[in-house]
């Protein structure tokens, strides 16, 4: 990791919050994010009384789908937390959360393809074309692919400003994902509406922020933090000045482009 090679950024003087997130929160979240999958595996093998019930395929399908949405929501929560606390260190969690969303989405689709439809590709294609809720869900999965593929530090650097534009696709994905859920349920739309509400709040915060202070806060805010994190130099600078207010930090960093 480039940041670690900089002399000014040794473990010893890395600020406390960043260290806490990196070595405490992040591994903990990583472990917790694996729990739904572990629960499913335990259920499939009926280990220690774990069970998936009469319809295990539906249980796997719905668990993976639900956690895809959960991780998309968590990913969207990171930026507001950064804005609220003024601590950009929380951004360290975002890529991992996003990649878990992608992983569970992929498992969700593979469960449908392999277990539910027994690899009947023709039936799956027909479903994708004919059933609007599957069309929407599949579109959301396809849109997640480029985001996962460009999640590396190298791709962030290479794409520069366009990286952020590309990754705004997650807003579209969140809407499509909840819509997919809403159309899937037979009658009880309470849960999908709850998710829709959460997405509305998370996107609303962004819209409100953007409208509220178009020039200073927004431009110097999250967007720049995201880009700042691509660059090794920026990372060390943020590390060195975490006590300052966010605008100060941002102003100290040269834009990568």
């Amino acid at each position: 990791m480039p940041a670690a090679s900089t002399a000014a950024n040794t473990v010893a003087d890395r600020p406390r919050l960043e260290r806490w997130i990196r070595f405490g929160v992040k591994p903990l979240v990583f472990g917790a994010a694996l729990l739904p999958a572990a629960w499913l595996v335990a259920g499939v093998f009926e280990w220690q009384g774990f069970a998936l019930g009469a319809n295990p395929i539906a249980a796997i399908l719905h668990t993976c789908g639900r956690w895809t949405l959960n991780f998309i929501l968590l990913t969207l929560t990171v930026t507001p937390i950064v804005q609220l606390t003024g601590r950009s260190e929380w951004l360290r969690l975002r890529r991992m959360l996003g990649l878990f969303a992608f992983t569970y989405a992929l498992l969700h689709f593979l469960t449908y393809l392999v277990l539910d439809q027994s690899l009947d590709v023709r039936a799956v294609m027909q479903d994708i074309v004919k059933r609007p809720y599957i069309t929407i869900g599949f579109t959301a999965l396809l849109l997640l692919v480029p985001l996962a593929a460009t999640s590396t530090r190298r791709m962030m650097r290479r794409l520069g400003r366009r990286w952020q534009q590309l990754h705004r696709l997650v807003y579209v994905i969140a809407v499509l994902g909840v819509w997919h859920f809403y159309w899937e349920v037979k009658a009880d739309v309470r849960q999908p509406l709850l998710y829709a509400g959460a997405v509305a709040v998370l996107l609303g915060i962004r819209w409100w922020k953007r409208r509220g202070s178009r020039s200073a806060t927004f431009r110097a805010g999250v967007g720049r933090y995201a880009r700042a994190f691509c660059s090794a130099r920026a990372a060390s600078q943020i590390a060195a000045s975490t006590s300052g207010p966010p605008t100060q930090v941002a102003s100290g960093i040269a834009s990568p482009k």
Binding site: A54, D127, A187
Partner: protein, 320 residues
Amino acid sequence: MYRRKLSFERAAGIVPSEITPRDVYFNRRELLRAVGFGAALTALGSAIPALATDGLSYRKNLRYSTTETPNTYQDIATYNNFYEFGTGKGDPAANAGTLRPRPWSLTISGEAEVKGRYDLEDILKPHALEERIYRLRCVEAWSMVIPWVGIPLGDLLKRFQPTSRAKYVAFKTLLDHKQMPGERSTVLDWPYVEGLRIDEAMHPLSLLVVGLYGQVLPNQNGAPLRLVVPWKYGFKGIKSIVEIHFTERQPRTSWNTAYPEAYGFYSNVNPAVDHPNWSQARERRIGAGLFNARIPTQLFNGYASEVADLYRGMDLRRYY
């Protein structure tokens, strides 16, 4: 007041002495325990209703039973659609404890000579229970094989002498959000209502069910009385029935009201007519394991040779 001679008893020629006194029936376990099982049986003789113990006495009807392996009791009693107790498949098993299936009264109304409100035990008494192993095809494209215990619906309906204006039979579930907490939600328009054309209702395959696997029906499966129409999607099998109404006009049905494009009045199992959200061509047999492929769905759920005549000349795509 309770032992007032009921109108259907006159019609069916039932003498009041044939009917178990209410206190004897409801204290039957204590009675059995006190006297000793065998002695109690002798003492009460034929007065013990069919539900005298949790184990029912019934004969097996092989003519109307499939030879396919039934699902386990566990699967049948824990994977349910019974929105009156919640919309999750496990909710009914978890929440149906609040239902009090006994005592239970059933109202017969509408276009019939004999009408009124009756105690369920009294109504069932003249009928011999039989076990039938039926396929159950849920509209959600899964299926089970279930050993029901019940009586032919037609046999019961005939006792109330439906008039010539009785073209349809409507059914209604209990409306009581204390017993059925799911009815507090607005997921469906409560109470749950269903209906059949009179010839469908009189068809020998239509069954009024009181038991499962030789036992009294568990609450989550629709205790104490539910309908099973094996050639139709499972949701036609209305649960915890409190009223049967004979009518001249096609009755309203709950799922048809909620989403008419997806759920028709007839709702006969038909692999050629898809649900808007999924294909009905294949179904997942519950209990078949993780890697078993779906099996093809049969027209009228495999009961076409018995019921296809009911729909001769009808466009099943239009009347889905």
